[in-house]
């Protein structure tokens, strides 16, 4: 049963992400990525990390991909994206080498035998309870830092995409050019 689920979702996720990477259509990429995110949450459910799975759905598919969709509304979604491909052999070759290296590292038995659980799971506690217990004791400081980081990111997002930011504060080249053009016209 677990094997069926694993292989189904593995194939689905791989196909979805391949579509995301290889398509020339921004909307296909977006939809396939969102679907892949949902399929990945299935792995989390399979692994017993229920809370993580729900967070994956809510945050990634609900918020992150929605932000991307929001961003995509600024561009023409129905047009195909032309990628200037330089050398596909190099891209796929490099990727293959990197993947092989990582596989070798992960599969190397020396590493996996020496792992000891730092924060072992407590018997009788649900997944979300365990997450809470570990997150608010050992990982409290990183948690707070992550919160502050999110706050900073939020303010940065508001400031960057706000109305008054059509003109740059740092790159003044365009404004100078614009003024020159205006002078010429006048």
């Amino acid at each position: 049963m677990e094997a069926i689920a694993f292989y189904t979702f593995a194939i689905l996720t791989t196909v979805m992400f391949l579509i995301t990477v290889l398509t020339n259509h921004a909307l296909y990429a977006l939809s396939a990525l969102a679907a892949g995110m949902i399929f990945i949450s299935a792995f989390f459910f399979l692994l017993g990390a229920d809370f993580l799975g729900a967070i994956q759905i809510i945050v990634y598919t609900g918020a992150v991909m929605a932000l991307y969709a929001f961003g995509m509304m600024f561009f023409d979604t129905t047009r195909t994206v032309v990628e200037s491909r330089t050398s596909p052999q190099l891209v796929f070759g490099l990727t293959g080498v990197a993947a092989l290296t990582v596989v070798a590292i992960f599969v190397a038995p020396i590493i996996s035998e020496n792992i000891v659980a730092l924060y072992p799971a407590v018997d009788g506690a649900g997944n979300s309870q365990m997450v809470g217990m570990v997150l608010f004791t050992k990982y409290l400081i990183p948690f707070e830092v992550a919160a502050i980081m999110l706050l900073v990111a939020m303010i940065a997002g508001i400031v960057l995409a706000g109305k008054k930011m059509d003109h740059s504060l740092t790159l003044m080249k365009d404004e100078v050019e614009c003024k020159n053009i205006e002078k010429e016209q006048a």
Binding site: S31, I55, I57, M73
Partner: protein, 329 residues
């Protein structure tokens, strides 16, 4: 045992699909009738006695209509978008207990497809995914009004997710579980145990956010008929549009169930009376969706965002903080 469980689950899924597809259809009938009565009209009267077969007529019409895919639309995504809306609505139903468990022919039936221990998070997440239907449908139909609608939908859904989540935090802190069954058992003692008495603010916030999550009238900005044609549904016709509709009405039913389970005691101790009360309470919330549609106008998009970020969210945060303090001391 394994096989029996499997068969039971499949039967439950089929039953829920059939019942709520039909109910979504009847939801449109109820809506038209109630809106008509509230504006001194009769509503559909011609198909069948008092028009009860209107849903069949509508279904035949939707199924036999020409299925138009605009030339410039992104075909596959345009076609899959309505399915997302309907499918996610029914996926959310998997974690909702629709009735208390009952025994039939010596076999105990749990009327819930999967009692996952993160039930509420799951429902919230899947409903959050539900807005991909309008979003992708609008983006794919290459229509600027649809695009406007998609922008609004994305903004409204993301914003009101915040309110829903924060308003639920306080009851979650009290109950200490994400499971809707646990929520129900927490309030099983009778009316005085209902969470609405201890968390009225959270109840109101969740209720208000439910209108935004389902895209119903006071916050009907996803397909704001009187401003931007039909929003995301502009380019859709026939059964594809019908699937959007089924998704919307199924969502209304499910969110009514969730409100009752979370705040109004659910099915109580699980007796027949409790089950009847559960359905009655749920019907009231569904009726309220229609009632509000008859009575209140839509609000402007900027007012909607203002309401979310400057009124509802601070109230929700304050509510969580107060609940935390009360529970600590």
């Amino acid at each position: 045992m394994e096989i029996a469980y499997f068969i039971e689950t499949v039967i439950k899924i089929v039953v829920i699909l059939l019942v709520f597809s039909a109910l979504a259809g009847f939801g449109t009938y109820f809506e038209r009738k109630i809106l008509a009565f509230m504006s001194r009209r009769l509503g559909p009267m011609n198909v069948g006695p008092y028009g009860v077969l209107q849903i069949a007529a509508d279904g035949i019409k939707l199924f036999t209509k020409e299925d138009i895919v605009p030339t410039n639309a992104v075909g596959p995504i345009f076609k899959i978008a309505p399915v997302i809306t309907a499918a996610t609505a029914f996926m959310a139903a998997a974690a909702i207990p629709f009735l208390p468990q009952f025994t039939i022919f010596g076999y105990t039936v749990h009327p819930i497809v999967a009692d996952v221990n993160i039930g509420i998070l799951y429902i919230l997440g899947v409903m959050a995914v539900g807005f991909y239907g309008p979003l992708l449908g609008s983006l794919a139909s290459s229509n600027k009004f649809a695009l406007l609608s998609a922008a609004r939908a994305a903004a409204v859904f993301i914003s009101y997710e915040v309110v829903t989540g924060l308003s639920l935090l306080a009851p979650l802190m009290m109950v200490g579980s994400f499971s809707l069954i646990d929520f129900n058992n927490y309030q099983a003692g009778g009316i005085s145990d209902w969470i609405i008495w201890s968390q009225p603010v959270a109840f109101l916030l969740f209720w208000i956010a439910a209108f935004a999550e389902t895209g119903r009238t006071p916050f009907h900005l996803v397909a704001n008929d009187h401003e931007i044609i039909d929003g995301f549904g502009t380019e859709y016709s026939g059964m594809r549009w019908g699937l959007f509709f089924i998704g919307e009405y199924a969502n209304m039913f499910f969110i009514s169930f969730v409100i009752v389970l979370l705040f109004l005691g659910g099915f109580g101790d699980g007796s027949v009376l409790g089950a009847l009360g559960f359905l009655l309470k749920m019907s009231f919330f569904f009726f309220f969706f229609l009632w509000v549609r008859a009575a209140w106008p839509d609000i402007r998009p900027d007012q909607l965002m203002w309401l979310c970020w400057k009124v509802l969210m601070p109230i929700a945060v304050i509510n969580v903080v107060i609940t935390g303090f009360v529970m600590m001391f």
